[in-house]
Symmetry: C2
DNA sequence: TGAAGCATGTAATTTGTTACATGATTGG
DNA sequence: CCAATCATGTAACAAATTACATGCTTCA
């Protein structure tokens, strides 16, 4: 049996929602996840194939023209996906933050904090705009995820803010 | 010229501190980074070799016995490392959090929040113990990094806490 | 002295990324 | 009708993970 990775579950999950989709369509749907777990262009082509070999998705190929491949879940695939969904992970992720790595390896805090603060502020604004623009049609999971993202960006700002040059110790936050 | 990855800079940075080291010793030093950016056993063997080919580290090999390889920075290596340190990144990392992925793809929030809350509480306790046990000998960068970790764990608790089953909306935090 | 475990390394496999290539569509 | 861009896919490459293999110590 093949090993199912997060990318596998992303593909399975997207296919469940869509009913069926071509790799290109999957790519479009995966855009939603790009800040959380991005999926590479080439991966939306290779991963469904792997899943097809394992019998978790079914592949249908156009007869003529561009011979597009279209995928949909099999029963086994749906089951594998729901098994995963039903089993809460206790796994934590590493931070793997490039800025923090520089800090840890000895970079000057000041300039680094400047750059990082700005980048995180930009990202926060993006998330907040997304949240504001979201009507009630956004599924619960997606909204909560967005809230998590916003919370983390705020945390990053709390962290970097007082480290910036010219930031007095009293003006944190 | 080869491409320098975060792992490359970790190796360069550790070698700068240590003066020189065998892969095994590098592995030991890298333990410090395991929550931030873990480095695989096999990588501390392969990466210094790559760096040696590029002239950024020098390799010396024991004549007899186990023929251990020992590495130290060259001037070019030290320079490459400091160039990187001096150039604050604006790059942000993706969250890539497995629990959040499950949530986003439709998992029941309750049980997931339970698991994640517990895991993050454990990690937070670990960080706090490390902070408490740290004397003044801990370098600034390392201490700040640890503080960032603590901040993020607290943020995760804030996030998951109210989603747990049996958690009323008023008892968040 | 021999079993456990630490130290050291390579190989195989899997994953992820970048680059390349070309077919369809559409708006100017 | 042709240039841009969208859509579709493969191939080559690089990186990371897992598995394997074995030499040295040490202490029961």
């Amino acid at each position: 049996m093949i090993r199912l990775t997060p990318v596998s579950y992303i593909v399975l999950g997207l296919l469940e929602r869509a009913g069926e989709a071509t790799p290109y369509q999957l790519k479009g749907m995966a855009a939603m996840l790009e800040d959380l777990w991005s999926v590479q262009h080439a991966q939306v082509y290779s991963e469904p194939r792997r899943l097809a070999e394992a019998g978790l998705v079914a592949e249908r190929r156009e007869a003529g023209g561009r011979r597009r491949r279209t995928y949909r879940l099999t029963d086994a695939g749906r089951e594998a996906f729901h098994d995963w969904l039903r089993t809460p992970t206790t796994e934590l992720t590493e931070l793997r933050d490039p800025g923090l790595l520089q800090l840890c390896l000895g970079a000057e805090p000041g300039p680094l904090a400047e750059s990082q603060h700005e980048a995180h502020a930009r990202k926060l604004a993006e998330y907040e705009a997304a949240m504001a623009g979201a009507g009630d049609e956004m599924p619960l999971g997606a909204r909560l995820t967005l809230e998590a993202g916003i919370g983390h960006e705020r945390e990053w700002l709390r962290f970097w803010s007082p480290l910036r040059d010219g930031s007095s110790s009293s003006d944190n936050r």
